[in-house]
């Protein structure tokens, strides 16, 4: 297709996704077969749990990234801590009440931020900072109180601070899978609405969508995801697990569906790997390990991703500069040559370098490589192909100029004005003929 930005990009992203999924699924069997590594049942459970949580936070985190709500996620996860502690005091060490407590505390924190924003002149970042610090302090104070209770059953609550994969057991994985399936189902059902509201809430409202309701639903899903992930990643670093896969995935694709799926895959990879490393070495807390793995993915994506990646945009920038320089240099050469007799007349080296300086050098080397110009005894001389190209380009520019000035009065079709694209590929022949009549110097103009 003519206007396609990166041809084949679609397929490439799907291939990457398939490759990572396949590789991830085969990691355990392969490493057992090749390196004789043994994975205990516990480690497999932990890996599965980490991967499922990674899928969830990667997918939902995309929306947090696109809505620029990373800091909201950070405050929300810190704010969950007092809920965990209070739920423990009231209901003991069962996972589901702890998670409900976490969710309620986060939600209260969010309401507090909203109340501050609507009734005072405090800005969002300050309000988030206030909630983050105070809710976390309340959690820490409650944990310290719990530790002063002689009964030792509180062991493990502090896992919620930095995360501890080793604490995950099979029933936890079952709970996480069940809730996670509901979250993903909701995401699939309301896909269109979430996308529209995230991109253009005003337009959605004008089209009769209930923006407030959709936003509330999406925030609820994000809170549920954060709460589920707390046991693994901990309240302090949960935000990294939420944001990093989305940021990494964004570099590889230009489509929302691909971004979400790729982020889920990246999330599964970092969640699973981080959990396994930390389960194998109990000195390393899980949350920090997941962040380190996820950030490695972000770095890799920032540099290597085609299109947006630093490496590619550097290369593309260079290619563009070369093309642009070649075009300008060719035009200068052609004009000088015509002004001094014929298109074949040589152009002194000093002149062309004086005109174009650094870009002339770039342009000349490109033109020479393409065989459009050669260096003779008296200077640079255009070859036949160079003369043809210069003429074609000059005429194309002139036609675009006419188009810009007269398209409206000639009632020509409206096309994107891209000056280095052959105008004949954009307009019908009749329109080109019309434009040619108006070229300066032609009979009709």
């Amino acid at each position: 297709m003519a206007g396609r930005a990166f041809p084949g990009e679609d397929r490439r992203v799907w291939l990457i996704i398939a490759a990572i999924v396949l590789g991830g699924a085969l990691v355990i069997p392969l490493s057992q077969a090749l390196f004789g590594l043994r994975f205990t049942y516990t480690v497999r459970v932990v890996a599965l749990g980490g991967a499922i949580l990674g899928v969830l936070s990667g997918a939902l985190g995309c929306f947090a990234v696109l809505r620029r709500e990373s800091l909201v996620g950070d405050a929300l996860s810190h704010a969950a801590l007092p809920g965990v502690a209070i739920a423990f005091l009231l209901a003991g060490r069962e996972l589901s009440p702890l998670l409900i407590g976490a969710g309620v505390a986060s939600w209260l924190g969010l309401r507090f931020v909203a109340a501050l924003l609507t009734t005072t002149r405090i800005k969002q970042d300050t309000a988030l900072g206030i909630v983050l610090a105070s809710w976390f302090a309340a959690g820490i104070a409650l944990l310290a109180y719990i530790q002063s209770i002689p009964d030792a059953s509180q062991a493990g609550l502090d896992h919620f601070i930095f995360g501890q994969a080793a604490a995950i057991i099979e029933s936890d994985v079952r709970l996480v899978s069940a809730v996670g399936a509901v979250v993903l189902l909701a995401l699939a059902l309301f896909w269109k609405e979430f996308k529209l509201v995230t991109f253009d809430a005003e337009f959605a409202g004008a089209n009769g969508f209930r923006v407030g309701l959709i936003n509330a639903l999406l925030s609820t899903l994000v809170v549920v995801t954060i709460v589920l992930g707390l046991q693994l990643a901990g309240v302090i670093l949960m935000v990294g697990m939420l944001i990093a896969p989305g940021v990494a995935a964004r570099q590889w694709t230009q489509k929302l569906d691909q971004m979400v799926i790729l982020a889920a895959v990246f999330g599964a990879f970092s969640g699973g790997l981080g959990a396994v490393i930390s389960a194998l070495d109990s000195d390393i807390p899980t949350g920090p390990m997941i962040i380190v793995v996820a950030f490695a993915l972000v770095l890799m994506s920032l540099f290597l991703a085609p299109g947006r990646g630093l490496l590619w945009s550097r290369l593309r920038g260079r290619a563009n500069r070369r093309r642009f320089a070649a075009r300008n240099t060719l035009r200068d050469l052609y004009r000088y040559a015509l002004a001094h007799g014929a298109a074949e007349s040589p152009v002194p080296d000093a002149f062309i370098r004086g005109v174009g300086d650094r870009s002339a050098e770039l342009g000349l080397s490109q033109l020479r490589g393409d065989g459009h110009v050669r260096l003779g005894a008296d200077g640079w001389q255009l070859s036949q192909s160079g003369i043809d190209l210069a003429r074609r380009d000059g005429r194309n520019q002139a036609l675009w100029n006419v188009y810009r000035l007269h398209a409206h009065e000639l009632n020509l079709p409206i096309v994107a004005e891209e000056r280095y694209v052959d105008i004949a590929s954009r307009l019908p022949a009749a329109a080109i003929a019309e434009l040619e009549r108006r070229l300066p110097g032609s009979a009709g103009g």
Binding site: A133, A144, I149, I284, P285
Partner: protein, 501 residues
Amino acid sequence: MMPLERFLIEFLLNFLTRGELNALLRSPQNTATLIGCLIAISGALLGVFLLLRGMSLTSDAISHTVLLGIVVAFLLMTKVFGVAGDTSSPWLILGASLAGVGTVLLTEMLYRSGLVRQDAALGLAFPLLFAIAVILVSRFVDDVHLDEDAVLVGEIGLAWANSNSHCFEHCETVTVTEDHPAAKMTRQCLNCRALGISPRDRRAEFIEVCGNCGDYSPARAWSAGLLEREPALVFFPKSIAVTSIMTLLTLAFVLVFYKELKLSTFDPALAMALGFRPGLMHYALMILVSLVAVGAFDAVGSILVIAFFIIPPAAAYLLTDRLALMLLLSPLIGAAGAYFGYDLARGQLFGFIPIAEGIAAVNRLFGLALIEAWDSSISASMVLMIFILFTLAWVLSPRYGLISTLIRRAIRRRLFEDQVVLAHIHNHQHTAQAATELRVATLHAHFRWTPRKMGRVLARLRALGFISIVAGGALLTERGDGHVHRFRKTMLEAHNMPGVD
């Protein structure tokens, strides 16, 4: 650090006897409260400028990054230079602060380049640095003063115990050598381990080793029983010296550069034009924030410290519009929070409301059997107390408080309802549609208001003498007409101001 501590002690000894001073400094409560207040004052002062410059979360970023600086510096000290790790060493503080500022500058450059958004940088890069620091701490550092708990909450409650001793009288240093009468000599087997034999084996060779030889400071010598006369000692907690310097530096900075800070905060462009270098102020502010964050690490850890930067200025911001007053209120609120925070940790809200009774009430309510004695983290309680003070300011502030805002909004809404109805009557009386548009019985339908709301407004307007009701239709009185013209004029003039949108 030592000469400064000595100077401070000598200054204090002008007012107190040595015994009193020691009693003061060896009390956990006094030391913790003093350190908490010092951190609160320096944080709250700097926080005012951070808040007004829209940089509140910079303190979050800095506290995350300096942790890595602290940990790396600590590891360098212990593993590379082989000296004892000490998180209050001035070199560590300086190095970690510079690392913190450097990283923040680097991140600023990153998001200025447009590759990463600011919120993503805060949500990603800083947690990463924090994560690396935590992994280093849990994996490679084996020290009671630098573990995961210290990172979270610090150890302000134990600050009194981590002190330097200063001697003022009878200061004898003792050097114990092998021939000193107090030397404890023990026999050690030289080749037992190498040969894998027991010391009873005939082949074992022995040397005599001195177990307690070395240089003794007066304090150590006294506690080891090497001195006959008790030296005059003062024990000075290390954190007090560090946080005092932070506070003095911050105070000096704010006092000396008050004018420059004010101008560069409210109008950077003008400050630039007047040659004040607002960029320089920005960096100076960040360096000070880093220094305070590092200095406070020992006492309150690296997460809770952001509360001291963010919350007191936010509370002051709700109480006043004047910068000078904010700079006074903000440290006061922070210090009050630190002071009452210690009581809170020990089970007394504001020093007189016992928390135990609250827990007992919860127990009765939910049928639980929670322990009623409340003993909790001091640093977290200080933050909670600051938050409680903030909430009080929010609810009660006469100007920006919740209660006064709600009252003011209700008054304004009433005034506005009056004006809308008056303007409507003004626009439609003496027109062809006046009969339908101004009929009292149907007026509410035009506005989509409830009949009750319209009835209330009309009654009010009649009572004020702005309208009269003639033959079922509302009409402006002369007084009402004048009122409409007055408020229309002020309002439309306000709207012709450029840039209002």
